[in-house]
């Protein structure tokens, strides 16, 4: 029977699978969604999901799993979709990914699982992200996720930061029987998933449901705790009885460009702009108390080409901006944003000013922003990052009239934990030193991962670090070896 057990459940013959087109993700029409905060993508229904799943070539050595930072067994979960076992598919994903409804929405699949899909050599790759999202949403709608049965180990782990990395560690460790408590500085759980990524790309309800699931598994959460200020790592270890600590405090301080006029009213960091909108719901002022500048009929630009930049400018558009620009100093090819977001942004009418950089902000003389003075760039020789270095074109200066400018050029390390934890090694940029394999820091019993180790990266890379950390924390707790 072993041979039949391995036999494909897929009714479609191998050569037919290439002929099925990649199933399109149903989405809100661009002209409608540009004016609301509802999710852009609407999700597959079971028929679409099964159609798409049947395209899988069921490779003997699937590269999709190798390219997934958390190692989701793609082939196995897709196979379960083919036979209609959607809950089984969800359970399969959950074995390695505690936030499937999130990653199915925000992963840059083109750089990971889908990037090396065999189908993509001839046709479009399998819609792995869409399928992952489908099974996670299906499970959520059914409300029947299976709680794992675990034996308590009596060990306690503190997790600092409730973003994707910390949640992954929490989810993995609770399933190993350890007691887990997550400390969050803000008043809501989820880190960048709640303050950074907007509703139209990741509905907060989805995040809340995933967190609720973790609570059901026994993870404890404590908000309003800034570790390093409210309590230190040493106090957690020595006085509160934690056997290990994981630091996943995230990206940290927003960077500014250090050009004249950055302090004018109307110039925001992307973190502040998005936090006001996503976490504080400033767009619902005065029902919510946190204010923000009224963008109705105003011209707004974001500076930068990453996901955060696109999240900010597409939010501005939804808040009624008349013109919404992306100012990016390199060209399309170098833009780090997720392909689908760039595509969606263009559909919505975002104006991309490529090979352009601001050199100064201009005000009305009373401290309010009126324009960004920009220069056009051309690409020169490759720089340290391997990308061609943008060089200003002489005499190309021009003023772009603006009421609001949002700076989304990255972040630097937040020093609060490092500066209050003696013996915790950092690199020269101030990020925490951690082994790439085990996520161990220079302090016994202290692990770290995600953006506070690597600098700004993606949700899934932070989750990958969380997975590795959970495994190595479990090893440490069970063997005592450091």
């Amino acid at each position: 029977m072993t041979t039949t057990a391995k036999k494909s459940q897929n009714p479609l013959p191998m050569k037919e699978r290439m002929k099925v087109p990649r199933q399109l993700m149903p989405e809100q029409p661009a002209e409608v969604r540009a004016h609301n905060f509802e999710e852009v993508n609407l999700g597959y229904d079971p028929d679409l999901a099964q159609q798409e799943a049947m395209r899988c070539l069921e490779c003997a050595k699937p590269t999709c799993t190798d390219n997934c930072p958390v190692g989701v067994d793609v082939k196995a979960f897709v196979e379960r979709i083919v036979v209609g076992d959607f809950l089984g598919a969800a359970a399969k994903v959950r074995e390695s990914n505690v936030l499937p409804a999130v990653t199915g929405r925000v992963c840059p699949q083109e750089d990971q699982c889908e990037g090396t899909c065999l189908l993509s050599k001839k046709v479009k790759p399998l819609g792995i992200g869409y399928l992952e999202r489908f099974v996670a949403d299906y499970e959520q709608r059914m409300g029947t996720h299976i709680l794992p049965n675990v034996t308590p180990t009596g060990k306690k782990v503190a997790i600092v930061g409730s973003g994707p990395s910390g949640l992954t560690v929490a989810g993995d460790l609770i399933q190993k029987g350890h007691k887990v408590r997550v400390f969050e500085a803000l008043h809501e759980i989820g880190g960048v998933l709640v303050y950074g990524i907007p509703e139209f790309r990741l509905p907060k309800q989805i995040v809340r449901e995933q967190i609720e699931y973790m609570r059901e598994m026994g993870v404890e959460f404590e908000t309003d705790v800034v570790v390093g200020r409210t309590v230190t790592i040493d106090e957690l270890l020595e006085e509160e009885g934690y056997d290990a600590v994981y630091i996943g405090t995230g990206a940290g301080l927003p960077q500014f460009m250090n050009i004249p006029g950055e302090h004018f009213n109307g110039v925001y960091s992307a973190n502040e702009f998005l936090t006001r909108i996503n976490l504080m719901k400033a767009y619902k002022f005065p029902v919510y108390d946190e204010p923000m500048l009224d963008l109705t009929g105003r011209d707004v630009a974001v500076i930068g080409g990453g996901n955060t930049a696109l999240d900010a400018i597409r939010s501005a558009l939804r808040l009624g901006a008349r013109k919404a620009y992306v100012i990016y100093r390199r060209s399309d090819a170098e833009m780090p944003a997720r392909a689908e977001e760039v595509h969606h942004a263009r559909q919505e009418g975002i104006d991309f000013q490529m090979l352009t950089a601001p050199v100064e902000f201009v005000s009305d003389g009373k401290g309010w922003l009126t324009a960004a003075r920009c220069v056009r760039m051309e690409l020169g020789e490759p720089d340290a990052s391997g990308r061609r270095r943008p060089v200003p074109i002489q005499g190309s200066e021009f003023d772009l009239p603006l009421s609001v400018a949002v700076i989304a050029i990255g972040t630097s390390a937040n020093p609060i934990v490092q500066s209050t934890t003696p013996g915790l090694g950092t690199n020269k940029r101030g990020y925490i030193q951690a082994s790439e394999e085990t996520q161990r820091t220079t302090r016994k019993g202290v692990f770290a991962g995600g953006d506070i180790v690597t600098g700004s990266a993606t949700v899934i890379l932070a989750m990958g670090a969380g997975r590795r950390a959970a495994k190595s924390i479990h090893d440490y707790l069970t063997t005592g070896d450091w």
Binding site: H187, D224, T230, V231, E262, H263, M280, P291
Partner: protein, 298 residues
């Protein structure tokens, strides 16, 4: 949830709250602050910590009604709850034996100046305190300040109590009398801190001010509280809130603090209107039977 275990007015519009916040109470040092959010739809605002009691697990904060949130906060009483209180935030004041230190508290700023004055006194400094307020009623923490100062001077703008004038007049007198001053610490309205900075710059007296820009998270994440220090952006929540007064660009601080003035005024007007309507309803209900309405359940 953070329980209010005691609430009392120190002056009209200025209220002290003792909150149950054991973690913060254990860690609080002079110069630090908390950020709080009263209810689900509320904004996050930074508030001065006046004092803490690590044994009882309490902190006391002092709030002056200015906008909607502070008005709402000041309507809370003993046994009410505050949804979120996070801290202690910011770098603590630098405490050492400097010699003679002048501590200036303007208005509600006195509440933040007080723990710093007390710590400076404990560190062996000669502490000369100057407390200023608009009028007699608004002079706060006089006995507390007196207890931690070698000398205490009080001014009121209108002369209704102690000496008529401004805190800067007293500081000028000290300087003119040839008092040796090793450090000035000033906490209060921006105009006051700026005036003091101007005065001590000429005299080359090291001066520290505690800045109060608009903030959201208070952990360095949003960058909204950036202030211009020697022409460079620094974050008041993690690099401050105390800065060398002679390096601060006060004009930019004033300008940035005015960013949401319109929205703030609208919020406050709305709040007062609701309060008035609520009061009117209460009065109406006193004579009419109370009918619970569905929409008012939450």
């Amino acid at each position: 949830m953070f329980k209010i275990i005691h609430a009392e007015f120190l002056a009209p519009g200025v209220k002290r709250f003792v909150l149950e916040a054991p973690r913060i109470a254990r860690k609080q040092k002079p110069g630090q602050f908390v950020i709080l959010r009263i209810y689900e739809e509320g904004e996050r605002i930074p508030v001065t910590i006046e004092n803490s009691d690590p044994e009882r697990g309490t902190i006391s904060i002092v709030v002056q009604a200015a906008g909607k949130t502070t008005h709402l906060l000041n309507s809370l009483n003993t046994d009410d709850q505050i949804l979120d209180v996070v801290g202690p935030l910011g770098k603590p004041s630098e405490i050492a034996n400097f010699g003679t230190v002048v501590v200036v508290g303007g208005g509600v700023g006195t509440a933040m100046a007080y723990p710093t004055a007390a710590a400076l006194k404990r560190a062996g400094n000669c502490v000369i305190s100057i407390v200023g307020a608009r009028n007699k009623e608004l002079v706060i923490l006089e006995p507390e300040m007196r207890a931690v100062s070698d000398a205490l001077m009080i001014t009121t703008d209108d002369g209704s109590y102690a000496d008529k004038g401004f805190v800067t007049d007293k500081l000028r007198q000290l300087i003119e009398n040839g008092t040796r001053i090793d450090l000035v610490v000033a906490v209060g309205p921006i105009v006051m801190m700026r005036a003091i900075a101007e005065m001590t710059r000429k005299e080359n007296i090291h001066t520290v001010v505690s800045l109060n820009p608009i903030m959201i998270d208070g952990t360095g994440m949003c960058g909204g509280c950036r202030v211009l220090i020697d022409g460079k952006s620094e974050f008041a929540c993690v690099d401050g809130p105390e800065f060398d007064a002679h390096r601060v660009d006060f004009a930019v601080l004033v300008q940035r603090n005015s960013m949401y003035r319109e929205a703030e005024q609208r919020s406050l007007a709305e709040f007062h209107r609701c309060k008035t309507e609520e009061r009117a309803r209460e009065l109406a209900h006193a004579v009419e039977p109370v009918v619970a309405r569905e929409g008012e359940q939450r």
